[in-house]
């Protein structure tokens, strides 16, 4: 609740702003308001920001700060006043930029919107009648805002989220991208700064508009300005990202970039092949990062003719027991399904993948098996040549051991096609009843004619399995029939093997 003093203060601020606006006599009240911007009390600050925003917008509108020439020493009183006013304006802008880093989100949001308002107003009525600033958008102010926004020390995610709506304006977007590209040279690159930049870049998309852009926040520049052209936007986007990706990114940031790579970055790039270095490097890291890089890489190969001869070998190496435990399990299986979808793939290759997957299934949790086993069966259905993995009637004498070589990194040499999927046979005895049912599909009459739809199961978690099992309604509950004699007193008891009371 506001105390009476606060109320009084607020009305005072408002009154002072009004009087400033009405006549130059009360110009000195401006100083009070600006000093209040640094106040501790948030409500006061908010009121100040509102009033300051109103006030200077008004000044810019009426051209109160416009000066003919600033160089001469002997200024008329009029010009002196204007110069003084301009200095106050600068103060205000600076303190508002400081406010961007404040924890209070309301103040942050208010500051950014006031600053953007100034930007718009200034572009229509530039402060200097001559000089560089006449061009769109007022460069100095723009730069100042961005320096505050993309702080090197404070994580500004929230304000950037608010700023995002300005990115819908074509001019702002274009200049933001340009700014990011150039700022790499003169900024101190820290993790926080990278994070902030990522937040901005993450939200930028270049809308396909070949006719030319029309949605401008600031004053429209003359015809022929690069801001009107789609190609220039794309170029700016590509440059900004390429410059950004040159930095050394932290693990989480790296993963974030890779996660949005396929649907946000690549489609907006002018020549996506420029990303191939970055992606191949990421792919070679191994583990989850490779998995994420895979997606982008695949798009490059598929749509942009990237030649990557070792792709399937690399992908083969990704089939590790850990895929069932990482967060990106669903993405992995989705991609695996995509990569192995072509029926032109050689059967030895598909067999190798299938066999390797079956092998890692031996140590997989049921949530993974419920995806992997139908996946294997789908592969067999899709590539009929692989059916010999489960059906080899011509081989009479049997095997001494599995001909498949698990350690061999090259799928062509691992001899999977000579092997059989005994792993599925083992899984027919798994402890989860649904896994058994799936694994039994390799029996006669069970092998489906069509592939099973499993895309909805990629995300299954162990918790879901447990809950599903708990919610199963059973008509009767079977009970044991031999009365126990104490904790260790049942027939099946095995605890006494290694445990005592």
């Amino acid at each position: 609740m506001r105390t009476p003093e606060q109320k009084k203060l607020l009305s005072e601020i408002k009154q002072k702003a009004d009087s400033c606006m009405n006549s130059r006599k009360h110009a000195n009240d401006l100083l009070d308001i600006i000093s209040k911007l640094q106040d501790e009390d948030e409500i006061t600050v908010i009121a100040c920001i509102k009033n300051v925003g109103r006030l200077f917008s008004h000044y810019i509108d009426v051209g109160e700060m416009v000066m003919e020439n600033t160089d001469t020493d002997d200024l008329s009183k009029e010009d002196q006043y204007k110069k003084w006013l301009r200095a106050r304006y600068q103060d205000t802008v600076n303190s508002l930029i400081e406010r961007l880093e404040q924890p209070n989100t309301t103040i942050q949001e208010l500051s950014i919107s006031v600053l953007m308002k100034y930007l718009t107003k200034e572009s229509y009525r530039p402060l200097n009648k001559t000089g560089t600033d006449k061009a769109f958008p007022p460069q100095t102010l723009f730069k100042n805002i961005f320096e505050g926004l993309l702080s090197e020390t404070v994580d500004n995610q929230h304000v950037i989220g608010r700023f995002q709506e300005y990115l819908d304006y074509d001019d702002i977007r274009y200049h933001t991208l340009k700014y990011i590209k150039t700022s790499h040279n003169n900024r101190n690159v820290t993790d926080v700064w990278l994070c902030n930049v990522f937040c901005v870049l993450e939200n930028v998309t270049v809308p396909q508009n070949k006719k030319g852009y029309k949605r401008f926040l600031c004053k429209k520049p003359n015809e022929g300005h690069p801001v009107y052209k789609f190609e220039n936007h794309q170029q700016a986007f590509s440059n900004a990202w390429l410059e950004y990706l040159k930095n050394k990114l932290s693990g989480t940031l790296y993963r974030k970039v890779l996660t949005i790579m396929h649907d946000k970055i690549i489609p907006n790039f002018s020549s996506p092949l420029l990303l191939s270095d970055f992606l191949i490097e990421a792919y070679n890291v191994g583990g989850a990062i490779s998995l994420l890089a895979l997606n982008g890489l695949f798009i490059l190969i598929q749509k942009h003719n990237l030649h990557y001869p070792e792709f399937y070998e690399r992908f083969y190496a990704l089939f590790e027991p850990s895929v069932f435990h990482v967060k990106y399990k669903a993405r992995f299986f989705y991609l695996a399904d995509t990569f192995l979808s072509s029926s032109y793939l050689p059967s030895y290759l598909v067999a190798a993948f299938v066999k390797r997957l079956a092998r890692i299934c031996l140590s997989a949790p049921p949530a993974g098996l419920l995806v992997a086993v139908p996946f294997i069966i789908n592969m067999i259905v899709r590539h009929p040549a692989c059916k010999q993995l489960v059906h080899r009637p011509d081989r009479e004498m049997g095997y001494d051991e599995d001909p498949y070589d698990h350690e061999e990194p090259d799928p062509a040499k691992c001899r999977a096609i000579d092997s059989c999927l005994w792993e599925l046979k083992t899984l027919q005895n798994h402890y989860h009843p649904d896994v058994i049912k799936l694994a039994k599909k390799i029996e006669y009459g069970e092998l489906p004619d069509m592939e099973m739809y499993i895309a909805d199961k990629y995300d299954t978690t162990p918790d879901e399995l447990f809950e599903r099992e708990c919610n199963k309604k059973m008509k009767t509950v079977a009970m044991t029939f031999e009365p126990p004699k104490g904790l260790f007193g049942t027939k099946d008891n095995k605890l006494d093997l290694c445990w005592t009371f």
Binding site: P365, P393, D402, H430, Y431, L447, M474, T490, K494
Partner: protein, 898 residues
């Protein structure tokens, strides 16, 4: 005459509905004759019909509705309200009603003008008064009725109708009407009084007489012994009669001998075991039941079928025939290991023997379960208990104040829930909150104990209220020693046996849930009360047997709660879990005791196994306690799958990971381990033995009560002794699993990483016995890995027998087409479709009839019109002819005239 007629007319209104039987014209009935009589089929409504009647009914209905509509088709008329006084604003509603009523009355009277006196009929509650008069219900049933009547008659005769019925007395004429009436009243009152007095006198006299008789009776009774005898004879007769009607002593089963009892028990167990095996394979009851296969006429009924799978494979062992289940032998030949199956059978035999041995106690249990016992002696059971204890040879008394502990339980539980486990310190801190006196155990002699039990029994009441809440249960149990607590639980169960009263079952079900809670909480005290728990198992088991569904739901809800906790921890820790406390782990044990673990799918054991494996797969080992908890879970998993031999990848992963923790690490090369273990990190040397350990100092088993306490005492874990024991347990479990999984075809792939780790173990530092067991394990592993394997072949389908053309007989035929079963919504849809079709057909039929009716109507109208026209034409022609005739006549007449 008129009266009677009228009455019948009035009662028609009331009795209209009752006699609905119409006389049928036999010529209207059409019977659809059936060719054959079919037993058990109800007469449908299509057997008999009256087409004429129904047609005329339909036509009549159409005339009322469709025809009206048709006639008014192009007419736009106004509805005029012609009710009397409706448009007269001057009249109120009541007046209107009155007028209408009067009008109605007058109309009614005008109908029978010539009916002079009986112009209207009086009714009471819709029943004609004439009827009531006829009933002649006597108003007074007393003796003085007639007299009253007579008096009344006299008055009537004298006073009514001007008294012209009797000749009046001269003095009466002088009195006025009022005086006369007073006289009448006086007279009647007087008469009444007299009557009353008379009655009273009679009563008095009877009583007196009775009294006198009683006095006299004693003298008379001797003389009248016969009478008394008659009274006795009644008793005798009754006795005889009752004996006559009493159930005759029926032939009972003779008491069974020991062997027979044992055989019965064996049979029962065998049946249950067969049932269990069936469930293990995931077959439903119908699947296993001998199918009534369709037989052709050529069937010789010799039990010979073409399908090969019906053969029973037979194997012999020790001269005994083993009858294996066909499904097992149907599998790959290699997989079918005789040893494994025989193992199973041996187990069975063991179980049977055990059961024979423990017949006595079993009997008790059984009788409890069957609900046969109503008044079993309480003391009896106690004796059994005490005997059990004597057998144990352990006498103990727990002086712990259970109340105090229990009060703290809630705190412990909540603390346990909140424990994050990031650091062990948090665990410790939560435990330190609990303060309690340690359990004292004192040895006593048998005599002392007996005396004590006797004393305690004297103190204990024999009935207890069934506890509604957990706190109530603790209240009941507090201040009693261990034995008494179980006696109390036993008595609660006895008092509330479901056969005794309605609602007892619910009470026992709540008791079960509280006991489960008690069971779990006993584990999370400073020193887990394992002896207590041990004895708690029996009541838990018996209660669970009584209502399996409830037991399952209670246990599942417990599991779900614990799983929620685990899930929350996982979410907070980025998908990594935490090993749960002893209570959760032992809940799994309880489940394995109460429910069969070998079922293909069981509503309790399947989720519980899933939960255990999830814990093992998701929780990283960051402390030695985790190792112990994990090993215990592994052991429980072993127990779960020991009969069904299901494959659990998580166990092998975990044990493999533990061995990894124990090996000497090479800094240059990263070992490949499976999640949740990591090849690097600060916890990878948890089981690494730093210096050699002598064999005397190590144990080969863990103690449940010491290793998984809520406290964490680092001294217990941070020594080589602990590590050696852990490795020992690990190897033991591995060899058990290796034996269990010796059948699986990919044994090599599963166990080769384990074997690899085993070879890297620093065995030289281990004591001799451990070295030996590792040696044994690796050699047996190697033996099993070298077996060859067959190529996978999809087996050929069994040939289908040719179809025969004999009719298929349904066993229970109810004369209706059977709806195909299916998913619920499908069936529902089918039903609706059927209904829709029926309705649609009916509607179309009706519409056709409507059109036909209209067409008929149309034709009729046209014909009428034509006829009318013809008639008119004829008429005109007639007149014209007449005219013509007359004219001609005139002409002719004139002509002759002229």
């Amino acid at each position: 005459m008129g009266k009677k007629k009228n009455k019948a007319h009035a009662d028609n209104v009331r009795t209209k509905r009752k006699g609905g039987e119409k006389k049928m014209n036999p010529f209207e009935v059409k019977i659809n004759p059936q060719k054959h009589d079919i037993l058990g089929r109800k007469l449908t409504k299509f057997d008999k019909g009256m087409p004429g009647v129904s047609r005329s009914k339909a036509i009549k209905k159409r005339k009322e509705t469709l025809l009206k509509e048709y006639q008014l088709q192009f007419k736009k008329n106004r509805f005029v309200d012609k009710r009397f006084g409706e448009n007269d604003t001057g009249l109120s509603l009541e007046e209107k009603m009155m007028k209408r009523y009067a009008l109605e009355r007058s109309k009614a009277t005008s109908q029978d003008k010539f009916n002079l006196n009986e112009d209207e009929e009086l009714t009471h509650f819709g029943q004609s008064l004439a009827d009531i008069e006829k009933f002649d219900v006597p108003v007074h049933s007393d003796d003085d009725d007639e007299e009253d009547k007579r008096a009344a008659a006299k008055i009537v005769a004298e006073q009514h109708f001007g008294g012209f019925m009797v000749r009046k007395k001269p003095e009466d004429e002088k009195k006025s009407w009022k005086e006369r009436m007073e006289d009448v009243i006086k007279e009647s009152k007087k008469k009444k009084h007299e009557k009353q007095v008379e009655n009273e006198q009679a009563l008095k006299m009877t009583e007196e007489l009775d009294l006198q008789w009683k006095q006299l009776q004693s003298f008379v009774s001797k003389g009248k012994a016969k009478d008394a005898e008659e009274g006795n004879a009644d008793d005798y007769d009754m006795a005889v009669k009752s004996l006559q009607f009493e159930m005759k002593g029926q032939a009972t089963d003779r008491l069974k001998t020991e062997e027979e009892l044992a055989r019965d028990e064996k049979e029962r167990l065998e049946k249950l075991e067969a049932d269990r095996i069936r469930r293990m394979k995931g077959l439903t009851e119908e699947d296993s039941a001998p199918k009534s296969t369709h037989k052709s006429a050529d069937d010789l009924d010799d039990g010979f079928y073409l399908e090969t799978h019906d053969f029973d494979y037979v194997s012999y062992k020790d001269g005994e025939m083993n009858k294996e289940d066909t499904a097992i032998s149907k599998d790959d030949d290699d997989e079918n290991d005789d040893v494994g199956v025989n193992d199973d059978d041996e187990d069975n035999d063991d179980a049977v023997h055990q059961n024979i041995d423990d017949d006595n106690s079993d009997d008790d249990d059984n009788s409890d379960n069957d609900g046969d016992d109503d008044n079993e002696d309480d003391g009896d059971d106690d004796d059994v208990q005490s005997e059990d204890e004597e057998e144990d040879g352990k006498v103990e008394e727990s002086d712990n104040d259970s109340d105090e502990e229990e009060d703290n339980f809630s705190d412990i539980v909540s603390d346990n829930e909140s424990e994050d486990g990031e650091t062990i310190e948090t665990k410790k801190s939560c435990v330190t909150m609990v303060t309690k006196g340690k359990e004292k155990k004192t040895m006593k002699t048998d005599e002392e104990k007996k005396a004590m039990i006797d004393k305690a029994k004297k103190e204990l009441p024999y009935t207890f209220k069934a506890p509604e809440t957990y706190e109530e249960l603790l209240e009941i149990l507090e201040d009693h020693d261990l034995d008494d607590q179980f006696t109390i639980i036993d008595r609660i169960r006895k008092c509330h046996h479901p056969s005794l009263a309605e609602g007892n079952k619910q009470k026992l079900e709540t008791l079960f849930s509280h006991l489960v809670q008690l069971y779990c909480e006993l584990f999370i005290q400073d020193t887990p009360q394992l002896d207590y728990v041990d004895r708690l198992i029996t009541p838990l088991y018996e209660l669970a047997q009584m209502s399996p569904e409830n037991a399952a739901s209670v246990v599942i809800s417990n599991l779900v709660d614990r799983h929620e906790e685990f899930k929350e921890i996982c979410q907070n820790k980025n998908g990594r879990g935490l090993y749960p406390g002893l209570d959760t782990i032992m809940l799994f044990k309880l489940i394995s005791i109460l429910f069969p673990t070998s079922d293909f799918r069981h509503s309790v054991t399947t989720p519980s196994l899933l939960f255990m494996c999830e814990i093992l797969a998701c929780s990283p080992v960051i402390h030695s306690r985790d190792i112990v908890a994990g090993l215990l879970l592994c052991n429980l998993c072993l127990e779960y799958v020991s009969t069904s031999k299901r494959y659990i990848p998580e166990i092998i992963n975990f044990l493999h990971g533990l061995l990894f923790l124990a090996i000497d690490k090479d800094n240059k090369k990263l070992e490949s381990v499976k999640p949740p273990f990591k090849p690097v990190g600060k916890h990878i040397n948890l089981l690494h033995v730093t210096s050699s350990v002598r064999s005397e100092t190590t144990k080969s088993t863990f103690s449940l009560s010491e290793m998984l306490t809520v406290y964490i005492d680092d001294n217990v874990y941070n020594n080589n002794k602990f590590r050696v024991t852990a490795i020992d347990v690990c190897i033991k479990l591995l060899s058990e699993f290796s034996r269990l999984y010796s059948d699986i075809i990919t044994y090599n792939e599963v166990f080769s990483p384990v074997l690899y780790m085993c070879e890297k173990l620093p065995v030289k530092k281990y004591p001799d016995n451990l070295q030996k067991s590792i040696q044994e394990f690796t050699s047996s592993c190697k033996e099993l890995t070298n077996t060859g394997r067959n190529a996978l072949v999809i087996q050929k389908k069994k040939p289908k027998p040719l179809r025969t053309f004999e009719p298929i007989f349904e066993e229970r035929f109810d004369g209706r087409k059977k709806r195909q079963g299916g998913p619920k919504d499908f069936v529902e849809k089918q039903k609706l479709m059927h209904k829709y079709k029926k309705e649609m057909k009916g509607a179309i039929r009706e519409l056709r009839k409507d059109t036909r009716f209209l067409a008929r109507q149309h034709l009729k109208e046209t014909m009428d019109k034509d006829y009318e026209r013809k008639r008119k034409v004829n008429e005109i022609m007639g007149t014209l002819a007449n005219q013509e005739g007359e004219y001609k006549k005139m002409k002719l007449g004139k002509l002759p005239d002229s």
